[in-house]
Point group: C2
Chain length 325, copies 2
Amino acid sequence: MQIVITGGAGFLGQRLARSLLKQGNLPDRDGQLQTISKIILVDVVAANGFDDARIEQITGDITDSALLERVITTQTAAIFHLAAIVSGQAEADFDLGMRINLDASRLLLERCRACGHVPRVIFTSSVAVFGGVLPAVVQDHTALNPQSSYGTQKAIAELLLNDFSRKGFVDGRVLRLPTISVRPGKPNQAASSFASGIIREPLNGLPSVCPVAPNVRLWLLSPRKVIAALIHGYSLSADALGKSRTINLPGISVTVADMVAALERVAGKDVAARVEWKHDAGIDRIISSWPGAWDASRANALGFTGDRSFDDVIRAYIDDDLPAA
Amino acid sequence: MQIVITGGAGFLGQRLARSLLKQGNLPDRDGQLQTISKIILVDVVAANGFDDARIEQITGDITDSALLERVITTQTAAIFHLAAIVSGQAEADFDLGMRINLDASRLLLERCRACGHVPRVIFTSSVAVFGGVLPAVVQDHTALNPQSSYGTQKAIAELLLNDFSRKGFVDGRVLRLPTISVRPGKPNQAASSFASGIIREPLNGLPSVCPVAPNVRLWLLSPRKVIAALIHGYSLSADALGKSRTINLPGISVTVADMVAALERVAGKDVAARVEWKHDAGIDRIISSWPGAWDASRANALGFTGDRSFDDVIRAYIDDDLPAA
């Protein structure tokens, strides 16, 4: 079984690849476990630290059709399409966001269609597809009303994946992700970058700026649970999905104040004191347009699971990612 | 003031052009009435019967950037984008639907953006953006869940127009149209073609097939009201629209049996008897996925009006379109 991960050198892509290598197999469409023979990581740069014959790395531009033809073939059983321009960057560079978040998604779907073997395609979407006046808890039937170009591009990719699936061109699944926290590594250009930064930086002995008010409510999922959801999302049968391929993943709903309080409980007062509150109107506008919670009963019924508490999420970050002191 | 109508040789395009010629002016963005100096009709064919120096006809492919550059300039105050591949045809020819309903819409928006003067752009969308399990009356906040490629492409165009408007590239308005009835002329490849045919053909002495069950509920708007809505949609100030540029237009909710009963009331038993009931599973699947009604209170508050009764709609068709016996 061959698998493709776009954005394969990114944090989620690498982590997914490592989980799949460790697991060693995935079910095929008949539910029979098949050994994973190859995982192709596609990205603009190569990932470091993979020493496994099953990993192949291809670097290039995923809006390049020739590259997609090399990467996706009739041998490809699953494509995890994680490559994306994050929210803040897509807002700042509209054309780049359209090219990667929309055009690349469509080209990828068209490449799958041309192959003709109806591969499973897993897209990740986002809280950013919602916006405007929202109910306290977003429902499966709540209208998309993105207030950012990133959210618009993700919403369009969702619609495309659903229609390509309905037409039988691919067997698609869209996982709408809560904001991921605690993401390891450096801050990025996502508007939600602070949602990891205000935990990660203090735990690493660094100051961190929180650009939104303490009462802003976020809907969060940990990296561990995201990886599990991606693999579970692949594994579901098409029949289980019915007329919508889009699934709102479970999350936990916490305010930023709750997050800092959890940090204090887990790591102490001195660590939590490294968070500095400094309002940023641009970030606040985007973040405040996102839902603070959605109803995840469909995801729960399909067997997805979220985190138990934000304290647990912080502890998981410490276990998985915090460099030894 | 210069105006562009894509799909200008189509039934709605021609009728809109005639209404605008008769009206002679439109408000500019400051609300000042400006004389209409030119209306460019763009379509694959030219329209017949226009004898007015203000009409310019340009034929060609609206996915051709060179054509769009000729048609849309910094002199263009308004673009009514009516060109579309109808539902049945977009389902049968996926690539053609994507090219005209999606790519052309995006190219048109990009052309407006390149001009830099933020023209008003009026898109028409459709009941077909809804589908799946729906409430009896669709609300403004009901999620889009198109069950056809046409509905998917229209939903994507809506999202694009909203984001291009939010970014300040265009001043856009999406009018979600009910099914138009009674449309004059010949049957077309729209899945909803019968919704006009079962009234029009009997009134013209011809038999007509109804492919869906008598209890199927439709949400309808007459051609007169659609034209008025297009002009009103143009005329609204951007401030009135708030965070969503998409408006669900008023309609009337009738079953197919109601429509035939109205035909009998207006035109007699013999005319209504020309409707033949012959089920078509493909058409029924698409039509049954559409809402039979939606809440139009936002449109009403913005000053749009619908029809009073389907009897009136039939009488308007007889007045406007039925050839003299």
